[in-house]
Symmetry: C2
Subunit: 114 residues, 2 copies
Amino acid sequence: MLQYQPKPLDLAFQALSDPGRRAMVERLCLGPASVSELAKPLPMTLSAVVQHLKVLEEAGLVKSQKLGRVRTCSLELKAMTEVEGWIAERKRFWEQQYDQLEAYLAQTAAKEDP
Amino acid sequence: MLQYQPKPLDLAFQALSDPGRRAMVERLCLGPASVSELAKPLPMTLSAVVQHLKVLEEAGLVKSQKLGRVRTCSLELKAMTEVEGWIAERKRFWEQQYDQLEAYLAQTAAKEDP
DNA sequence: CTGATACTGTAGCATTTGCTTAAGTGTTGA
DNA sequence: TCAACACTTAAGCAAATGCTACAGTATCAG
């Protein structure tokens, strides 16, 4: 069976759809943190956090490096920027659509009330 | 077992993580469309498209109404705006973090090379 | 009236996801 | 040296996801 190779955007949106993973990203927006620091506020085992971390790294949202026994995680902006870009592009189209509606209404109003 | 009530952001990100659903949103950014119009370019049955549509509607990304036998779908901007807002807020934090790094580097450089 | 159109709804099924538990490995401080 | 620490890895499992197939229900055009 042929299986679909997920695109970067798929992985980024998927990663951000989980509240725990978003909490981790929110924490990392304030600065780098160790795995245990990321895990502390979350209601799950360290094991689960490590698995979430893997999802975030594979989505390109987070990067990490190990020094001694501590893995320090930080934000990787690339994927976040891609998500931002996709939204911005959509916005461009829907605002254009809105302008067209506005123009149409203006035109209709002008005809009905010259 | 207690089960988690998904928040709007969870649903929106989750909905946008599927390439087919994103394609539907992209199409709707150009203007309203019927279910069949949305289905035409997608490599799946109409049934599957309807199920994706339901996900998009429950996420608040799309709304639809039926007239006669045709259901016309259009964008619902609310959820999209929330996603945009979450990203914008994160950006605010990580740019602040970057500024701090910049300031630190500038300070270090000043000390080392007065 | 009749056939085509445009969905609608449900059952079933293979995968994926989000955990937990349990058993490691490599570091470090006393 | 050795116990505590900071992960790491894998097995297992319940629930969610992403389909398909199939059997409907309205609506419209001729």
